[in-house]
């Protein structure tokens, strides 16, 4: 089983791809394109324990720790395979929805590190509403790209669920997209310090990373290849309609204030 994996997540359009490319640019860390499998395996782990845990323990000789190992080993098999392919010491995996499963992953990997990237929810919503993302099973547009309320709810849940891992003793680090863009070295020094990795200035040259375009399944690949984007902040002012703003306020108004992105609901 992998010893101290790094799980990266955050609401989509919060800078998750930027962050993973930066991590991958560190000589000790492999953080390739999204695997997209860990959220469903973490959910399966939690559901199996909740629905079948008692049966497995009482009738099948499989206690909770052993059951957790089954899923930890399964997830590790994906992580280790990629780590070996890249020949690096440590593995990190970014899939935005990982954030929703940090607590379960902490149960399976007690020594793991959890990194959540957050961004102004209004910018996240306005970015989501421009995405051409479709549900694999139905072929329909994803609700988070068509309904502001849905998008806002996703933003809230990614942030709140990620933070819960700290309450269960997980090693948790939250980084702000806006701060990362404004002061990359200062923010990244804190991040690598959290991860127990020495500072390497090459992480600031992330736009040269050779894995940016691998797989072509990350929507922000091209943008990340162009370097830090200083003009995306506050895009919501031009992109969000009044109706969208009302929807966002109803779901995310309080969290925006709590995070210091807004001072009130009068924006």
């Amino acid at each position: 089983m992998i010893d101290a994996p790094i799980f990266v997540g955050g609401a989509p359009r919060s800078g998750t791809t930027l962050l993973r490319v930066i991590l991958d640019s560190h000589p000790n860390i492999a953080c390739g394109p999204e695997f997209r499998i860990i959220p469903s395996l973490a959910a399966l782990s939690a559901n199996t324990r909740q629905l079948m845990g008692d049966t497995l323990s009482a009738h099948c000789g499989l206690g909770e720790e052993a059951l957790n190992s089954v899923f930890a080993n399964l997830i590790s098999s994906f992580l280790e395979s990629y780590r070996q392919a890249r020949g690096k010491a440590r593995i990190a995996e970014k899939t935005p929805a990982n954030a929703l499963h940090f607590s379960e992953l902490a149960r399976l990997f007690p020594s793991a590190f959890f990194v959540s990237i957050i961004r102004d929810g209004r910018d996240v919503v306005s970015s989501l509403m421009k995405m051409d993302w479709f549900e694999a099973r139905t072929g329909e547009r994803m609700a988070i790209t068509t309904h502001a309320e849905c998008a806002a709810r996703a933003w809230v849940s990614h942030i709140e669920e990620a933070r819960k891992v700290a309450a269960v003793g997980g090693r948790f680090f939250e980084i702000r997209y806006e701060d990362l863009v404004e002061s990359p070295e200062s923010e990244l020094r804190k991040l690598f310090d959290f991860l127990g990795e020495p500072w390497r200035p090459e992480v600031l040259s992330f736009e040269k990373n050779e894995t940016i375009f691998v797989g072509m399944n990350e929507s922000s690949a091209q943008s990340v290849a162009r370097g830090l984007n200083h003009s995306a902040r506050g895009r919501w002012r031009r992109d969000l309609s009044t109706a969208d703003k009302t929807a966002v306020k109803s779901v995310a108004g309080d969290l925006l204030i709590k995070l210091g992105y807004a001072h009130d609901q009068n924006w």
Binding site: G32, P33, F35, R36, I37, S40, L41, L44, N47, T48, L51, M52, T55, L56, A58, H59, C60, G61, L62, A66, L67, S69, V70, F71, N73, L74, S77, F78, S81, Y82, A85, A136, V214, G215, N217
Partner: protein
Amino acid sequence: MTKIGEVAPLIFIGGAPRSGLTLLRLILDAHPTISICPDTGVLSLALAQRDFALTLGELHRDHLNLSPERVSANFAAAIRSILGARAARDGKLRPGEKSAMNVLVFADLASIFPDAQFIHCVRDGRDVVASLLERRWKDPRTGKVFDYCQDAGAAARYWAGLAEIGLRAEQAIGSARIRRVKYEDLVRDPRKSLSTLSDFLAVEKTDQPLRFQERALDLAGMEKEERSRLSAPISEAAVGRWRRDLTQRQQSEVIAAAGPALRALGYLLD
């Protein structure tokens, strides 16, 4: 016969509920070599593997250096760890699992485990309907009793759907790896059924499994509903119960909904 040190081929039992699956599990589980887990949820792992292969397999193969074969082997290891725990606990060589819904993933399991063996339990759909109508199983999402426990037509459709899935799985997997066990044969002549299965599973022939009631029955989850019936001597009393338990109208509804499946399984000859 599996030798010590070889990884033993897994055994999967599936079929429509009320078709003798639990009875068969208890009989085989009492065999010195075999350990059959009750519903463990491994079918969700098989479904996860299928879903991965369909939606993410290419991505991982082409860009993340992970072949479909490796992924399948990793899911196999996970399933084997779950089922192997009980076999290890009981000192048995052949792990297996019984769950009605395993039929949904028989083909997936056959591909994940190239040497696994499958048992498809079937029963006269009309008797299955009569039995389902006695149950008060509730949908955990709504808290309401399933319609297939209340209405003969719904029960027949439910049974026929699973029977057809089982039949397709039989064809996909092939007779070398899957055997059909009829409830009616199992209760009429359990010794003969056991003998036939022992040949299929390549395990020692012994009467020990038929004495499974000498020990306290270890029933899990919904199996516990059947404790008194399973503790009593195996009896044919329920075969053909549909004649007394279903009204004429219900019988017609069942034929209308499940006629083809009944014919395909040899329960309706006309």
